[in-house]
Symmetry: C2
Subunit: 358 residues, 2 copies
DNA sequence: GTGAAAGCGCTAACAC
DNA sequence: GTGTTAGCGCTTTCAC
């Protein structure tokens, strides 16, 4: 098939024979510990030269087996095709490489069975650490890892059987809400003179914490909050679209401030807003608990909250570095609040479609 | 550290001892080939039970070493944090799993040195196949792979030393341009009565092919095209922003149709468009050679081209499946043209921020 | 119907 | 300054 292929990949034995030395000498040279073994520089040079010309690469299956170390660190995520998790992958790789570990990122599609199977396979490849990000069932993953003595950390979604690092959703929602209120203009209509929250699922931990942050911020500014101000209508764009349409109809206009609980919900909201006359939008201040570079070029100003991916994974690696796996604490990392002027800043760094550049 | 850990992971020898059989029997049972070996059903059952209770998992470093097979298939991409490549990862994983290969996706940050080092490391883990996606230097990667007899395919950016699968940029640009023209309204001003192309870098293969497609489509409809209609101003949003601003000033308004060469350029274009009165936008038909769900909720209709990720990788796997690595052909895959109504369809499936769901 | 033994490629303790 | 040797955990051939 492939041209120029050598029948067999060369091994340290091949090199040893060619160099007229033993395999252990070759091994020492190639592992860089030949000085301790006080191998002659000439021998070392000769072996290195041979390794280069014969394009030798160590077989890490073999060396890993021998050393009972693989050099691998794994991370499972629900999916690659998502802004948040793909930036997790990017940061994870960097942090792993800084530590001379080889990063393995695999998605599990929010399928509990695939999640466990994937973890088992990663373990069978003898990963040394595992980051469990956004898992549907972190505790089952923990059970498997514990049975195989694999150190691990939960990220984004907490579990009870390992240390977890999650976003501080309460704080983020509170800050976003306060900023929205402080930038909004009062309305003469009492129904419209208050902020509203839309999107998400009330039984989700994250949505619940955000609703709490929202409610507390509203109470701090207005002395109270009503149930009708929060509509955890689900994440789908269509649901958010009709939720805001309903709100608009009920209140006779847009409220003074609107807290949208995700970019996907925001898509629906924007679809509805497009049906309104532009000056109506000016009466309302908009915020989104999520970040998207494109959202910053919408026709109205938008406050956004961006999860602190560096912070989340930085903390996860700190736990790994210091081996404090068994605190079983939940560590919260504050997200960032982005104001309209800065919301698009980061977009230039990542999405340039240089993939099609020759 | 971790609680409940057993000091040593169990091996087939442990199971063999517990079951009172030999390691080879255990191996046969766990590999599912005990019927051929005519091992007693009772023995098999007993071994399987023991394997379960002791949470045995095969050591794939060891079995891979012995079988000289790893079960691993690798893919390198420039980065995870990008719509196109993250969806490549997603599709790649699915296609690999369908074939019972374990997928390894690693990013190389468009760093030629990291690219080669990553490939070498993947090879040292004994991947059996490699998909080289969007590489800066595919031919150097090919040389390494060939030296180690690793079968591989280029995707997105072509090379000369292995079969390549790329997007049909010419066709996509041509279709987008024709659709733009046919949906646009004539302008009384001659300067404005023609389509313009903005964004990208003229020396990039992809941009060049798109410019050719654009030019041919314009020529087909208008009988000719002028150099001033194409401005490969670069990918950055700011560059596209000022390019369109310039065009607008020069022509005394927007042209009848505008072809924007990437979503990042589109961001800049939108930023400029926001400075115009809304009715000016109605005079122009907009298209973007790239896809983003958020772009579909902009205040004006937008045609988009989406790369056919399934098609690209489907073809790459077909090449692997049929072992036709050495055609060294460049296979072109047609992208999809999305009209305003359908442009947002796919957004609901992927980006739901369920990552923060408990 | 099952076991013994060799060996995949490498590392590291020990020998000299 | 370098070689010998054992063994990591597994698969597979051959033996009985």
């Amino acid at each position: 098939m492939q041209p120029d292929v050598k029948k067999r990949r060369s091994t340290i034995y091949d090199l040893a024979e060619l160099a007229g030395v033993s395999a252990s000498t070759v091994s020492a040279v190639l592992n860089g510990n030949w000085k301790e073994r006080r191998i002659a520089e000439a021998t070392a040079k000769k072996v290195q030269r041979l390794a280069n010309t014969h394009r030798y690469t160590v077989n890490r299956q073999a060396s890993g087996l021998r050393k009972s170390r693989s050099g691998l660190i794994g991370m499972i995520i629900p999916m690659h095709d998502n802004r948040f998790f793909s930036s997790m992958s990017q940061v994870f790789e960097r942090l792993a490489r800084e530590r001379h570990w080889y990063p393995l990122v695999v998605s599990t599609l929010r399928d509990p069975a695939l999640e466990l199977e994937t973890v088992r396979t990663l373990i069978s490849y003898r990963i040394e650490y595992l980051v469990v990000a956004g898992a549907t069932d972190p505790d089952s993953v923990s059970r498997i890892c514990q049975a195989h003595a694999v150190a691990h950390v939960n990220v984004d979604l907490p579990g009870t059987k390992a240390t977890s690092v999650v976003s501080d959703n309460y704080w983020g929602a509170q800050q976003l809400t306060l900023a929205l209120i402080d930038r909004s203009r009062a309305s003469r209509s009492p129904k419209r003179n208050k902020p509203y929250f839309v999107g998400g699922i009330a039984t989700d931990n994250a949505t619940r914490r955000r609703m709490e942050g929202f409610a507390d911020a509203v109470t701090a500014r207005f002395g109270g909050v009503e149930a009708s101000q929060l509509d955890a209508c689900g994440y789908a764009a269509e649901l958010a679209e009709s939720a805001v349409e309903r709100l608009h109809r009920r209140s006779g206009g847009l409220p003074r401030a609107l807290f949208v609980n995700s970019t996907i919900a925001l898509e629906g909201v924007v679809r509805f807003l497009k049906t309104l006359p532009p000056d109506e939008l000016a009466a309302c201040t908009f915020g989104c608990y999520d970040w998207d570079p494109f959202a910053s070029v919408l026709s109205f100003p938008l406050l956004m909250v961006r999860q602190n991916v560096e912070g989340l994974l930085g903390e996860a690696f700190r736990i790994i570095d210091t081996r404090s796996f068994d605190d079983k604490r939940v560590i919260e990392i504050k997200p960032e609040l982005l104001f309209p002027s800065q919301s698009g800043d980061a977009s230039t760094t990542n999405d340039a479609p240089r993939h099609a550049v020759a």
